[in-house]
Symmetry: C2
DNA sequence: AGAGAAATTTACAGTCTGTGCAATTTCAAA
DNA sequence: TTTGAAATTGCACAGACTGTAAATTTCTCT
């Protein structure tokens, strides 16, 4: 029961949550640095926990697996995708709209840190596989956001396909960008890939 | 050194290889049946090895991981994709060519067993991730085969995009097909998805 | 302030996948 | 029949992850 001089629920329960987030963040950073320094497989949970100042068991209270540390860095992605698409004016063809949204998004997600994470994600078979899940979540977010722009049921199939092709184009762009070690900006790859897509179909 | 009454290399060294393949096949079947019966995670390596009549250690002489059993069932996929695409007459636009190749392919890979494997592959997070790798390998096979039809370097980007969109369409088709528990044939979903793709772009 | 509930942290023991190593068995070729 | 490579196995071990129960901390309510 709350009453009187009670600021909603921001201070009381918010403190716990905030501390929890801070700890989680600290572990994620510690882990990432160790991965960068020693490689993913060579870094044991024990090491991450020790460097984070917690017990090995407590690690699993914050992350459900070692891999989860890396996924945590992209947790904001689906929301960002969704927001970027909804921010676009709907007077464009869906494919074009998504292209423009992704172009704006590319700025945020092509930092040096993002590149480092990407490098780790490509380093082992297991991580490469789970990295694909990222694109699946992007595809879902894209489809959901497009569905808000065009809620008509008869557009469903079309939007699904647009989401698939757009995210696929994004993936090809990121791959090409990563292969060239970041000479040209990601945005130029995105433009090129989407152009090729429209030209070929 | 081979000489005289020597039938190439089919009988002599072939015997070992054949037995090896048989053992591998037996393990794969035993494992799959156990997965179907008890679920993937509930089936231990120990159980698979015992039911296959080998030691747990020997299992790893045939498969590099438990997961690998499932991947073994799709080992022929890339070659089949490649063959199907190369078998198509090249007097069609690339996207259309791949569509027709996939339609012919769909017959082979929509057996009851394939559906069972697909169900297992969707049952856990880990397997869902590695299942995506299947589509990546299809994409690569598609691109490689298309590159033989159109070897010109300036078509590279375009073919890459076609491979991505085609395999993506295939994935959406399989998903829709699996969701409907196989009421309509897979082929009809493929036609529909490719139509939507061409319409939207 | 103090009792009690709830969240956090930890130790301990145990399961399971996967690897390294060395010994043993099997089998095709000389 | 001998020999060497491939196949098979046991054993020991690392490392990720879970179940449980107990301690410790952090609120909440009175």
């Amino acid at each position: 029961m709350r009453n009187a001089m009670d600021n909603e629920s921001s201070a009381p329960e918010g403190w716990r949550e905030q501390k929890r987030r801070e700890t989680r963040q600290r572990i994620a950073e510690t882990g990432l640095n160790l991965f960068i320094a020693n490689g993913y497989e060579a870094t044991t949970l024990e090491a991450i926990a020790a460097a984070s100042g917690i017990s090995a068991r407590t690690f699993f209270y914050y992350f459900k697996s070692k891999e989860d540390i890396l996924l945590a860095w992209q947790q904001g992605l689906p929301d960002a995708v969704r927001a970027a698409i909804l921010a676009e004016p709907p007077d464009q063809r869906p494919l074009h709209l998504v292209r423009n949204a992704f172009l704006k998004l590319a700025a945020q997600f092509s930092s040096e840190q993002a590149a480092a994470i990407d490098r780790i994600l490509r380093s082992t078979e297991q991580l490469r596989a789970s990295n694909q899940a990222k694109f699946l979540s992007m595809e879902k977010a894209t489809f959901d956001a497009l569905s808000e722009h065009w809620p008509q049921a008869r557009r469903r199939k079309a939007l699904q396909v647009v989401a698939m092709a757009s995210v696929g184009a994004m993936r090809l762009s990121v791959d090409a960008w990563a292969d060239e070690a970041g000479q040209k900006p990601l945005a130029s790859f995105i433009k090129q890939t989407f152009s090729a897509l429209e030209a070929e179909l």
